[in-house]
Amino acid sequence: MTNNRKRHAPLLNRCSALAITLLLAALSARPATGATASPLIRDVQRKVVKIYGAGGLRQMESYQSGILVSPQGHVVTALSYVLDTDDVAVVLDDGRKFSVEFVGSDPVLELAVLQLQLGEQEVDWFDLEDAAPAVPGEPVLAVSNLYGIAAGDEPASIMQGVVTAVAPLAARRGAFQANYRGEVYVVDAHANNPGAAGGALVDWQGRLLGVLGKELKSRVTGAWLNYAVPVDAWAESVEAIMAGRAASSSSGLELAPDEPTTLASLGLVLVPNLLACTPPFVDGIVPASPASDAGLKPDDLIVFVEGEPTVSCSDVVAALARIDRRDGARLAVLRDGELVDVVVAAPTETDETAPSDAPADEEQ
């Protein structure tokens, strides 16, 4: 890696001379302050709407945000209880208020598409064709009506930050379960607060990056997550809904194999799963099973299944379930402080005729 850099250094140096010239020209040409940002931000704010609907009880705000995605007044927003009423109203940044028609929703992405009853009026909108992907470290703006601060003709609030990570959405189980499992932009601004869901994540050129999701806690860090679902993940589905077809999204949904691998199909017995994160130690091996053939031993700690880290017995069961049992399974175990790779072969023909979960199936 170091070599690589050294090789490029002279070239880059030459570039930098040019760049400095350009930089100086740029700096003298325009004021390098936030003032230049405001036309751009005004432009973005015109495309983010305030949505009012059902709710109003404690911790169930009756408002959220949405983004305009077509000249016909289509609004993408979060699918939530706020929309559970015939009286959903959308207010634009200039105070214009519209009633809406519910066009459709994508239950996997938990997104809904509304259409403003525009009549003869015109609106600004994000062109989904223009949407950009973001990379970690990229400076971004989150634009939403979080906490319902903006009202009437006030534009949505903006927050600045950077993309912390592009990572699969791993929400904690429970009250805040998310159906979507695909990649999201994690940001370091407190973007996802009450009322923010449905707002826009944009780059500093005003291009739409994603839609802010509902409030979730991360399973990875245990902390509240600030994130947006990338346009790529939902554009197709939203366009389908807008065109009057059913939502086409299957991204982020896992397709279970026909014959998922189970502990029993491998001949593997783990320690009793008493806690939420009982370490996945092997308790026993069924004789003459794929596990015993592979050399797995009691007290092995299973730390990877198909390269996927497993921290608990439940993780192992879940990871195995994603593998078709006809494919065998690659595991890594900790044995006496050493990491050992183990390949468990697919069950033999005789086993396959009895794919039930009976491990005691030892016909000779």
Partner: protein, 681 residues
């Protein structure tokens, strides 16, 4: 390698920043905003990319799911390579669950098992070691003196995805926080990057991110690994200086744990920033005591840096570790008498446990009846003098009335005990006694509580009536039951009590007859030494279990009030498993019991031993059976207890003497005499 790394990093960053600016300028279709800020953030992203290979992902397996009130996340955490041969630094937070296994993902993507080398209690860090054949990349360091408040930084973690680091951006918001230990940043810091580096625009590491509680140093819970985690993503976050980590690394590797250092002094009350560090108390055998500090000394400099307030003193001392040596200048005396003293002090990891001061006086027990009829003269009358005690050396005599300990006037035995709890063993003290109506002042040096059990004639019998023996034959058992408990205790009281009796709560069996027989065998002793014997039954026939603890601890106050028991002679006892439970109860429930007598019973393995408390000191009598495999365990436990400040009397008996539910006479005699001497002061 490090220098090359640094050079390459700077160059790369410069190039990136300029290139991105150039491209920003070149793009003219979209509105371009805030070029400088944007370029700076892009540069930071490049810096992060560069430090990334030294940022490893850590996974822990097993351990607790919750520490204090914090539910721990199961996700991976972050560490930074600190030495190329496999040393990795991370935050203590990431190991709060005490994992059974640790895996580190090395820069090449391979996984390696890791061991914890040690913790740094001051900086809340953990040092890990992995075995590696290839040298790991070590990031370069930004010198502490070059760190500026307001400079742009990125907080880096490797949690969400193994292959890429996650970044949040902010500025350095303060230096020398938490009494000079850490940097502060407003970047978003959480379990997503605890243990990861805080880096500058050129990818140099400023510090390691770790949660800390912004509260008072030394406050309860401050040392918890999860303290401060509730401030996650709040804009208040801390990083332990990388320079400091590098400097202390060799010592850390050698020592394992780096512990906090303590002086062992109490300081004058008042707001810490406005109150001079005046010493108001000195813990015995503490670093301060060994350095010759005295009450009233004022600390005026540490390592030649002037110290005016307690906050400054803390800032000088808190970043140091146990074993560090400090040069402390004291001012002793006031006005013209004041002089400056230079002392050397070595910080300790912990203070020796409290050991109650002992004078060597066995006080006369106030008669139960007299207390109501007439007011006895104030003071404590000496019933016996403990042989070879400070009191014996000072010439205290039987019949002396102790009226003051130091400057504290004594009216009752209880007030004498209170006066002594503020004193340590090994202090010089003035004892005022009245002898033949003449006040007399005696000098003595207090000692630790004794562990020997005195002979019966040394304990100073109090005169007893003649009827005692006559009534002995037909005294009756009382049965004491508690609501909600099926169990009971059978109680035998002395035939005649003129003073408050002691209490021996013995853990018996479910066999009521055996319990009776056991109790009856104590009759002579309970009359002589004036104690009530209660024999309790376990709930279950299989014997005593932890489930019985509640019954016992509820039974104690009932017995105490019913028989007017002297709390300084209320003890619990048992043999074998029952003895283990008795010891556990006594050690866990402070203040209810003055002691525990155990036979052939090592401490329960699961028991966490706390130091003896100044308020409610506890004594133990541990009797082992000769040639029993338990003897060695009991010896070791006795040592542990002794180190934790408990006076432990040890004895051994021949063979198992518990036949027919009875104890050997000599064992009974020993327990009775031990109990009789417990109200010593």
């Amino acid at each position: 390698m490090s220098a090359g790394f640094r050079r390459a990093a700077r160059l790369a960053v410069l190039c990136w920043a300029i290139a991105s600016l150039a491209s920003a300028v070149a793009r003219d279709s979209a509105p371009v905003v805030d070029d400088v800020a944007l370029a700076e953030q892009r540069a930071l992203a490049a810096a992060v990319d560069h430090v990334a290979e030294a940022v490893v992902q850590i996974r822990t397996i097993g351990g607790l799911e919750q520490v204090d009130d914090t539910v721990l996340a199961q996700g991976p955490t972050t560490g930074v390579v600190v030495r190329s041969d496999g040393y990795i630094v991370s935050s203590s937070f990431n190991f709060a669950q005490r994992p059974s296994s640790i895996l580190v993902r090395l820069p090449d993507g391979s996984q390696a098992p890791a061991e914890i080398v040690g913790r740094d209690e001051n900086l809340m860090l953990v040092l890990l070691k992995v075995e590696t054949d290839d040298p790991l990349p070590v990031p370069s360091s930004r010198p502490l003196e070059e760190i500026r408040v307001g400079q742009r930084v990125a907080a880096v973690g490797r949690t969400f995805v193994a292959e890429r680091v996650n970044t949040s951006v902010g500025v350095v918001s303060a230096l020398g926080r938490m009494h000079g230990r850490v940097l502060q940043t407003d970047a978003k810091v959480s379990a997503a990057n605890y243990g990861g580096p805080l880096v500058d625009l050129s990818g140099r590491v400023l510090g390691v991110l770790t949660p800390m509680a912004p509260g008072m140093t030394g406050a309860a819970g401050e040392s918890s690994e999860v303290a401060g985690a509730e401030y996650y993503d709040s804009g208040i976050a801390f990083a332990a200086p990388w320079e400091h980590v590098l400097a202390v690394l060799p010592r850390w590797i050698e020592a394992g744990d780096l512990q906090r250092g303590v002086l062992g002094v109490g300081l004058k009350d008042g707001p810490a920033h406005a109150t001079p560090p005046e010493v108001t108390s000195i813990w015995p055998r503490s670093p301060a005591a060994e350095a010759g500090w005295k009450q009233g000394d004022v600390i005026i400099a540490v390592d030649d840096q002037p110290v005016v307030s307690q906050t400054q003193l803390r800032t000088a001392v808190v970043p140091k570790y146990a074993g560090d040596r400090l040069r402390v200048t004291l001012r002793r005396g006031a006005g013209d008498q004041a002089k400056e003293l230079n002392t050397e002090i070595t910080l300790a990891a912990e203070l020796p446990p409290f050991q109650q001061a002992f004078l060597g006086v066995l006080p006369e027990r106030p008669a139960v009846a007299d207390a109501e009829t007439e007011d006895p003269p104030a003071g404590v009358v000496v019933r016996a003098v403990w042989p070879e005690s400070p009191a014996a050396a000072a010439g205290v005599k039987v019949g002396d009335r102790v009226t003051a300990v130091g400057e504290t006037e004594i009216s009752t035995t209880a007030s004498a005990v209170t006066a002594l709890t503020s004193q340590y063993a090994g202090v010089d003290i003035e004892l005022t006694v009245v002898r033949d109506d003449e006040p007399l002042t005696l000098q003595l040096t207090t000692e630790d509580l004794p562990t020997e059990v005195l002979a019966s004639d040394q304990l100073g019998r109090q005169p007893q009536g003649d009827e005692a023996d006559a009534n002995a034959a037909n005294r009756e058992f009382a049965e004491v039951k508690l609501p909600q408990f099926s169990q009971a205790a059978r109680v035998l009281a002395p035939a005649k009590t003129t003073t408050k009796p002691g209490l021996l709560l013995w853990l018996g069996t479910t066999d009521v007859d055996a319990n009776r027989e056991f109790a009856e065998s104590w009759q002579t002793l309970m009359d002589r030494d004036q104690f009530v014997l209660a024999v309790a039954e376990p709930r279950d026939e299989s014997g005593w279990t932890g489930d019985d603890l509640e019954f016992l601890s509820r039974m104690l106050p009932v017995l105490a009030s019913q028989y007017g028991v002297d709390p300084r002679r209320a003890v619990i006892g048992g043999e074998g498993k029952a003895g283990q439970l008795a010891a556990a109860l006594a050690l866990q429930s402070r203040g209810q019991l003055a002691g525990a007598a155990t036979l052939a019973a090592p401490l329960p393995r699961t028991l966490t031993l706390r130091d003896n408390a100044p308020g409610a000191p506890l004594a133990l009598l541990m009797i082992a059976t000769q040639n029993s495999p338990f003897s060695m365990l009991i010896d070791r436990d006795a040592q542990r207890l002794q180190q934790a400040g408990y006076p432990v009397s040890q004895a051994s008996r021949r063979g198992s003497a518990a036949r027919d539910g009875r104890l050997d006479n000599t064992v009974q005699e020993l327990i009775a005499r031990w109990l009789d001497g417990l109200d010593r002061i």
